[in-house]
């Protein structure tokens, strides 16, 4: 029963936070004086007709509370406004770009977690040794690397000097593919450098989290029991220590998802990967506020949902919670 109550509490918190994000977005972009919509309506380049239309569409002639309700209603209908530069609904834009970002982030995140956890576990099992210090040093340097600069350097070395991978876009411009397989491998080649950049920069955090969790478990009494039983050290490490360390790794990893999302903006900008990040970058350069607003909303909600999912996963993974 307590599990159901826990779940209910988590769902309520999810809904409240979602509502908070949406309201925060409204206050930031609509309510504060000199907000983008107001600026647009007042800028001298528009015909009186256009100003009247914008005022009507965004409900600027209404009092704040009513504007808020209009905003909520539009949001519920999936209306996110119209992009200033692309001159089409923001929703359509997001539809085009979101998929590419998910393709990039899915691959990069799986790789980062796998490499990070493996390296962290091995470091923990050889705590204090040369491999351990090397891993920590590499992690600290990795943490200090700006994501975008790492991307620039990798583009430089692997792209421009060695011609190993393409450094621009998602596919070769004007390419004619003889088979579907060729198309896929072209996209995969374009994915290589952005993915590598994200892994190099983010892996440090996962290494440190995994290392700390495993070290904590290794100090538990049942580890001594396992050793006393005469089990092989390797078996103890992977079957006993890692299994128990996975829980904290899952929760800590979820907290890092905000980092991964932020990294996507930088990496997509550097490699012109046509995803949400590049969309944000171009919108920032063009002061395309409806797109920035919607993109912020999407990023915030995505991070929130990942955190929620990790909470649920925790419930499923932890036998102590599961059986109580």
């Amino acid at each position: 029963m307590s599990r159901l109550r826990y779940l209910a509490r988590k769902i309520i918190w999810l809904v409240v936070t979602l509502y908070g994000i949406v309201t925060f977005d409204f206050v930031l972009f609509h309510l504060l004086p000199g907000n983008p919509v107001e600026l647009l309506a007042r800028s001298g380049h528009l015909t009186p007709q256009a100003v009247a239309d914008i005022t009507r569409v965004y409900g600027l002639n209404h009092p704040p509370l009513e504007q808020y309700l209009i905003y909520l209603r539009n949001l519920l209908h999936g209306q996110l406004g119209i992009s200033f530069t692309y001159r089409e609904p923001v929703r359509n834009l997001l539809g085009q770009y979101l998929g590419n970002t998910m393709l990039l982030l899915a691959g990069a995140t799986v790789l980062t977690i796998t490499v990070g956890v493996l390296a962290g576990v091995v470091a923990a099992s050889r705590r204090g040794g040369a491999y351990d210090s090397a891993t920590i040093t590499a992690s600290v340097i990795g943490w200090s690397l700006p994501t975008f600069w790492t991307g620039l350097i990798l583009a430089f070395v692997l792209g421009v000097w060695l011609h190993a991978f393409p450094i621009f876009g998602i596919e070769t411009p004007n390419a004619i593919y003889t088979s579907e397989w060729q198309h896929i491998s072209d996209i995969a080649a374009h994915l290589a450098l952005p993915t590598l950049t994200l892994v190099v920069v983010n892996v440090a955090q996962f290494v440190l989290v995994a290392r700390a969790s495993v070290i904590e478990v290794l100090a538990e009494d049942f580890m001594i029991t396992a050793t006393a039983k005469g089990l092989l050290p390797r078996g103890i490490l992977w079957r006993h220590a890692v299994r128990n360390a996975l829980l904290p790794i899952v929760t800590s990893s979820a907290l890092l998802i905000g980092l991964v999302v932020g990294g996507a903006i930088e990496v997509e900008t550097v490699f012109s990967w046509p995803g949400m990040g590049l969309l944000v970058y171009n919108s920032v350069l063009n002061r395309d506020y409806p797109v920035i607003e919607a993109a912020f909303l999407v990023f915030a909600v995505a991070v929130l949902l990942v955190n929620f999912a990790s909470d649920l996963l925790y419930q499923i993974l932890d036998p102590r919670v599961r059986e109580s």
């Binding site: 908070g20 340097i141 430089f156 905000g258 932020g262 920032v284 607003e293 912020f296």
Partner: protein, 313 residues
């Protein structure tokens, strides 16, 4: 020094408290000395300190010895993006200006933004953490819910949205990075305050009638200060990275050229495709250098001060 009168209590604080306070002040002094000894005896701390001294020297003395003139552009196309030479040690940028001098002139921006933004987020985070942890009850619940809310917001998209909206100058950038960086600090300070609140010397002065404000100011704050300080040094690195990223994305101050701004123009002018490594490597190495300086020093300070890490190496 005149002791402030306590109000709202039946009994004035006895002299015992004064004595206890002087003892604690002395403790704090040896504590500082202990931290300094830890940093200087710790290899990581020493490297951090050396890096830090180099960075400060470069930022302060560099522009005095090699002043940068932003208007000194090349008169012919042959002078644009030229590789390093005896005349231009780090080559020239896309306008033909000296990259070495531009690099030196950008160093202090990273430091200023890092320190100022961190001061803002530390003040906010500590205040919220202390009040939340000390008052407890519904104040704690409400404040921690708000903290969790901001903790879940992804920082970079939030900073981009705020900076794109409020404009491009150094003050705004500092403010934006500062007001988004506080939730982690609030959490850490809160848990430390929670444990302090239950300590005997706090419960004692409380029962002697000291006001909440006085307990917070005299007894709690000085004792969470070391933790706040350790956290501060660690957070500066993150703030410097945030500034570099914002500037790279074209949201930097157009007047004050930081290393991030240099990389923005290097990227926009196609320095990568044209092989101009001398324009891309120095600013990035500078950023890594500064962030490492603060991270390593902060790690060492944290080891010495954080009760959870003490003796666990």
């Amino acid at each position: 020094m005149v002791r402030p009168r306590i109000t709202g209590g039946l009994v004035g604080e006895p002299d015992l408290d004064d004595a206890a306070r002087t003892v604690r002040a002395a403790d704090r002094e040896t504590e500082l000395r202990r931290v300094w000894r830890h940093i200087t005896s710790d290899r990581i701390g020493r490297i951090g300190l050396v890096l830090f001294v180099i960075v400060v020297l470069v930022a302060v003395a560099g522009p005095l010895v090699f002043p940068f003139n932003p208007a000194a552009v090349a008169s012919t196309p042959a002078g644009l993006l030229t590789p390093p030479s005896l005349h231009h040690w780090m080559g020239t940028d896309e306008l033909g200006r000296d990259v070495f001098r531009e690099f030196l002139s950008g160093a202090h921006i990273s430091l200023i933004v890092g320190l100022a933004a961190t001061t803002i987020s530390m003040t906010l985070g500590s205040a919220i953490g202390i009040v939340s942890g000390y008052l407890g009850r519904w104040t704690d619940t409400v404040l921690m819910r708000i903290t969790d809310f901001f903790l879940v917001l992804p920082q970079l998209p939030l900073v981009i949205a705020l900076a794109a909206f409020f404009g491009r100058n150094l003050g705004i950038i500092i403010l934006v990075i500062g007001i988004t960086g506080w939730p982690t600090t609030a959490r850490i300070v809160r848990s430390q305050t929670l444990s302090l609140r239950e300590r005997q010397f706090v419960t004692r002065v409380h029962s002697l009638g000291a006001s909440n404000l006085r307990i917070l100011r005299v007894h709690i704050l000085p004792n969470v200060m070391p933790l706040i300080f350790a956290n501060t040094v660690l957070v500066i690195g993150g703030a410097i990275l945030a500034e570099a990223t914002l500037s790279f994305l074209g949201l930097g101050d157009p007047v004050q050229t930081s290393w991030g701004t240099m990389l923005h123009f290097a990227f926009e002018s196609g320095a990568i495709g044209r092989g101009a490594w001398w324009y891309v490597i120095p600013p990035g190495v500078g950023i890594v250098f500064v962030v490492l300086a603060f991270t390593l020093t902060g790690h060492s300070v944290d080891q010495a001060l954080n009760p959870r890490l003490r003796g666990s190496r």
